[in-house]
Subunit: 339 residues, 4 copies
């Protein structure tokens, strides 16, 4: 029974598992010197239509925090949405990896940063009493399931550039945002002004595979040491590389994301049709945020769905997340229970 | 062709891979709330004959650094052998995770800490000008392939206790040390005075599975937050738990280690019989350190063995490492090439 | 010509300078083992009517950051007003000293934290994905020149206690707040629930003298090491102790603060009487925040007053600060110029 | 009665105190924008015969740790003598300020680094498993009272340059080393290859005044933020600037150092003439290290000298330190007591 709790409760997809098995042959150099790992830079460079440098890791938190640490001095400021994952859900990982940089939380409609709010928040450059503006970080798709349009990304990039800041994209759900826009990876990143990307695979069918992608390779100089020093340079790195290669083959990543997004749309439309239901955010990727009437909550619980906590504390609307392996059946059974 | 470069260049063993596949069924709660992860505490408690708390991670560097960070204040001192992995091979991970504690490197024969050297090094307690003694860390088996006897571990523990320090064991090659001694996990750890263990699986047949084992669970309070904050709480933790469960089933871990150790012994004896060869350290686990005559090096290179770097810089004797999947054939072919 | 730029541009008062001279006699043990430093604990304990532990330092930033570091784990959250000095004016010192704790900025009328806003902000305890609530910090008097009433402090303390958090007071202008309330040091701190106080002297007549006062001495265990390690244990500490002793003698600190507050009141009333002037915050201690009409600004500039920057960027209303040595003349000359 | 315990137990010299008094006139811009502070760069540039950038602080620990933090990445290595102050007496301040860099302790005769030992210790550049060589730090005069000759400094600099490392001099006793050599400040620093100097005043007649001197100003970019963030940018900085100006006027600093060194020489020669006394290190600046026979210790104690601790723990020979205000009388009384 699919609970729609999160896209990280799902299994890994068969193609990824097969690649892991296939990588388990004979010896391979450790710490990323294996053939598979060595192929990643060129594979990602093809996909992003630009020479990039890629550093695989096994968690989104590590991917974000390492990217930020490579862009921000210890006395730096990272500007982000107040609801962003880096600000609320990583137990201070960015502060840890940067050795004490400040995250500056900014409000913004639909969970998205806006250029004018960002502009107002960027303060203190050159003032020794203030932590120094260093970096802007935003998520695509973002924590509220919404998606930045290309010109919205460019808008943030322009503000960042004007102040000499770098631009980081938390792409834990990169593929979901990409297929939502119908854009190319290049268009959604460096062509719009993104410097460094935390590219996610785990939520979209991998076992544990993320990658820090330097769209401006000249920024990557400290990353190898920061990664090793944080315990994120795995010895048998071939198994992470294998996941990423399979994930990027035959459009697997795009197909997985399209399925997840389509199921979220179906779920969202179905819920919106129920009396008393209100969407808290427009459903643009694979997350649905809804305010449910008491009766619907009760019916869902009775049917065995686990939505207790969110409802009780009243702090956030219930969130339902679809994934690469969500089927129409799963959605329809849920909708039937809620109606 | 087996190069004996390291035990981390090897593939994962079939039982571990099968367990990973088996864990890939349906949804499972993320971040260690899955059933498999929940079983780990009791499984390790059985093996260690004591209630322990276990925190899986995916690299030995993370395992060591997190363990040390849970035992050491930012202004603390960690006493360790000068050749220890934490001091030389982790790019400052202990300093990073502890937010600046000092590693105090100590000399000692055979790569092992000795109580008297340790005793002399423990200085400055209560003196505000000195970083504060907090922890002793040693490896079993250790970087030089040697193995501490149980009374040697007790000896270190007594010094640590006398000064109020905790005792950490880097067990990246725990199983190799264990079968070398023929001891039980309890005897080699808490019964000898070890407080926290970094338990290794990756070098002995796992894909990427290590565990921080608190033999004194009351010391584990900060670990969950330190782990999350460092990006080492994986979302699909079930796949790490599955590896550890398989590894500990049917004596797989012990069988793998016995094979590795036996092959190292065979290699060591064979090399020692070659004219001009001198063992740099006694071979007690799965690592062989030898000083090879020029002629042997040339013969090995000609046969395709990769031993160049070690020989050229003259800093350390060549190291040859066996693993769970080293076969007699592999050893004999190498010996034939060297002779 | 008094510019009212800040209370830290002022000279030190004669009594303090005399004490520094008097301390310059013969040898004295270093690093706080001198007689004067040793007397501080009992002197502060008298004044606070409670056994306290005192650690002198030379800057308010150090005093705040060290206090917070003694109360907050590396993965902790410090709740504070978004306009607070620790959040905006210390270049990330709290993040540095705590090794990466998060400051959680909270809005609040008159620059003050309110219990309900605080209550809403305290989130995530026990949730491994969230930095952990550890400490509440507020300033008395605060950055906007307003002063917490005793029951307002108690109100914050109750929220803090309910969540198991400690309560820190940034008392860079402690004396100004104290005389504004007409309270005793005990009433304004531990009797209202404050655990640790950053006690300021520099802005109120000292050369460079602050003190971290542990109203709950059992919290002070790590402070000696944190202070040394940050370079704030001065060798000739006698000269800091001498300042604090003089400052606390014969009500010097209270007299200085009363003078500053009285002059601020005079200035505030005078300005408020000018056409078009609006007080941005009520004047409750020694800072006056006003919105000035263009004409008044021009007149003041012509008269040689330096108020350009604040007016130009439009971000904050001009601030005028009085001090221990501000005279009625200074105020009246300024008012005449502005009118 | 002069105890010779340290040069930091002494009072400040009259010229310095007079300058502090003189600086206490009227308002002055805070945080180093006062006229006196602004004059420091040109004053030091004269003295060092080169454009330098100067950052005053109030403790030697801060001066060293800030200098090292400006030269070393978080994953860096600082090479230093194992007996150096930064390694043994600063409670881990360098590790704190650098956010976890490693100090690599090196042995060397007379407490001095030697090029060949240094060369051997510099390892791991470009190897991701190793913290990265960043900086060499040595003290002049050093912890054992010995003094590097100019060519010895150049020798260290050559090794540092060959490996692309910067060179830091801990000059807590800079003046004592300088007058011992009879060299110019330029010769003893940048002409010999020193990049950044921690220039000390406190031990040689100041109240609390040190300065980080960037002999290569292009390395100073991060220092203003690191200093503020560590609480070492004092608001009334004019009082530190005043000390340094007085200290550097009329050769005060050189006269003070010459007196201290001369008295150490007198003390050393007197002690060496006593039966059973052995100098532990040659007396080259203002510190005398001697092994005293039991009888001499007893006689000194009976006469009221405080030398107990050093003798009891047997770890280090008793150290006797002279200062700017040590008189021949003080020395002769001590010698009489010891004989």
């Amino acid at each position: 029974m699919t609970q729609f709790l999160s896209d990280n409760v799902t299994s890994a997809c068969p193609e990824v598992m097969a690649a892991i098995m296939a990588a388990n042959t004979g010896d391979a150099l450790s710490y990323g010197d294996d053939d598979g790992s060595r192929r990643l830079n060129s594979r990602f460079s093809e996909i992003f239509e630009k020479d990039v440098l890629v550093f695989p890791v096994v968690s989104g938190t590590a991917s974000n925090a390492l990217a930020l640490a490579s862009l921000t001095p210890t006395y730096g400021k990272v500007f982000c949405h107040q609801l962003s994952h880096i600000n609320t859900d990583e137990c201070g990982a960015p502060e840890f990896f940067t050795a004490g940089a400040k995250l500056i939380p900014i409000d913004g409609a639909l969970g998205k940063l806006q250029p004018d709010n960002l502009e107002k928040a960027i303060r203190g450059a050159g003032n020794v009493h203030s932590a120094q503006p260093a970096c802007v970080s935003f998520a695509q798709s973002c924590e509220t399931g919404t998606v930045y349009q290309l010109d919205e990304i460019s808008g943030l990039a322009q503000v960042a550039r004007r102040h000499g800041l770098s631009l980081h994209m938390d792409g834990a759900r990169f593929a979901n945002g990409l297929v939502a826009l119908g854009a190319t990876p290049a268009e959604m990143t460096w062509k719009a002004g993104v410097d460094v990307l935390s590219f996610g695979g785990t939520k979209n069918g991998c076992l544990a595979a993320e990658a820090i992608v330097f769209l401006r390779p000249e920024l990557a100089g400290t990353l190898p040491f920061l990664r090793k020093r944080s315990g994120h340079l795995l010895s048998k790195m071939r198994f992470i590389a294998a996941q990423l290669e399979a994930y990027l083959s035959d459009d697997l990543w795009l197909r997985n994301a399209r399925q997840a997004n389509a199921m979220a749309a179906r779920l969202s439309q179905g819920l919106a049709a129920i009396d008393g239901v209100r969407l808290a955010f427009p459903t643009q990727s694979n997350e649905v945020f809804v305010e449910l009437p008491r009766t619907a909550i009760d019916r869902l619980k009775q049917a065995g769905y686990d939505i207790g906590d969110q409802e009780l504390d009243g702090l956030a609307p219930p969130r339902f997340v679809t994934a690469w392996n969500t089927r129409e059946d799963d959605v329809d059974r849920f909708l039937a229970a809620a109606s």
